[in-house]
């Protein structure tokens, strides 16, 4: 029932705006949620998403299905833009605030995407349990916090090599638990 995102990207690359609108509808809640998580400020998250979806449109013909899924490609762009945004002079003040702060409350919407996402979300949370606590911690600081591995090492009082290893190992475990990738 859900559209083939790879197909929508291909059509977008040919200038099909309706196909792109479908792609937006299928990915915007997860994409916006990711941006909000990383940049914290919803207004900036909107700007980031606007820039990201524009880049997704512009580069849609360059998506290579042999390299990975369309959804991963979309989230990679949104994530990179979110991280670029949050790394600014103001970001240096973030390190002074507690990074153990509670998760922000998430609005649970009843759209089809939200329902689908929550089903998949349960699978992902289950897969995350296969990581060690320290791998989860390092990965979450890197992915959702937007910190560099060097910053993660400082924040967790680790040698630099340990942080990047935990991030890498955590991703490999997550990948294997979810059965994705090569």
């Amino acid at each position: 029932m859900s559209p083939d995102l790879g197909e929508l990207l291909k059509l977008s690359g040919l200038g099909d705006e309706a196909a792109f609108a479908q792609l937006y509808d299928a990915t915007s809640a997860r994409g916006f949620g990711l941006a909000v998580r990383v940049v914290r400020d919803p207004a900036q998250a909107e700007e980031v998403c606007q820039e990201a979806f524009l880049e997704i449109w512009r580069t849609s013909a360059r998506f290579d299905a042999a390299k990975g899924s369309a959804i991963s490609w979309v989230f990679t762009i949104i994530h990179r833009k979110s991280v670029d945004r949050v790394r600014s002079a103001e970001a240096s003040t973030r390190r002074d605030t507690t990074y153990h702060q509670k998760n922000q409350p998430i609005d649970h919407d009843t759209t089809a995407e939200a329902v689908q996402a929550s089903f998949e979300a349960r699978r992902v949370r289950g897969a995350l349990n296969t990581l060690t606590a320290v791998q989860r911690e390092a990965l979450e600081l890197a992915y959702f916090g937007g910190y560099t591995h060097t910053e993660v090492a400082t924040m967790l009082d680790l040698p630099v090599g340990t942080a990047k290893t935990r991030i890498r190992d955590g991703l490999i475990r997550l990948r294997d638990a979810m059965g994705v990738g090569a």
């Binding site: 200038g15 997860r30 512009r58 990975g68 990179r80 103001e90 992902v124 890197a142 560099t148 890498r168």
Partner: protein
Amino acid sequence: MNDIHALSGAYAVDALDDIERAQFARHLTQCSECRTEVDSSREAAGLLAETTAVEPPADLRNRVLAEIKTVRPLPPIAPDTSVATTVESAPVAVQVAGRPQRSWLRGLVAAAAVVAAVGAGGVVWHPWSDESSDLQLSAADQVIQAPDAERFPQTLENGAEATLVRSKSMNQAVLLTKNMPAPPAGKVYELWLQDADLGMVPAGLMPDGASTVLLSGAAADAIGAGITVEPQGGSHQPTTDPVVLFSFENA
């Protein structure tokens, strides 16, 4: 770098600073194992977004769909050609009225007190085959990795760093910044490419919080670049003394 492969996970989740990111991107052109691992790590990382969905405001959709109408999708990257991607940044008036070049330069030199050092730049050679087209690198990364990329690093008095990377073959320039303070309220950083005849030509506005910015415009013939503080929306000509000035002449 002892074990550059160890950066693959961090790279996949954007947990590298600009320098390491560029280094690892170069490494990827030579290591298919890392390419595979990065692709699958990105698949895994993308799954994390499943856990944080939030419905965006409806007008975001309207803005996105309106904006894509004004921009055409880029064609696929053809193999074996290093095509400089066109920059579809916000419309910027390119026309700069002829100005007395010398007096402008003198004014800039006087204001260069804010610049702690003038980088001499250097040419970096990378003798590997052009496999970058496989990697869907951003336009900025392509410039940074270009075989003829020249780097012009600067340190500002407040400790911020700004490096201009220019590739003549790609005819583009990229600005990398670190710890750059936010511009004053109501103001924006504007980027300029310096032309021998036209003087400072607008090269785009620096997005809030961005630390890597692709300059808009032809950089191959530029003799320098600069950053000034301008009112929101930018100016056709610099209205303030530059915060940073890069000179390409010494390269």
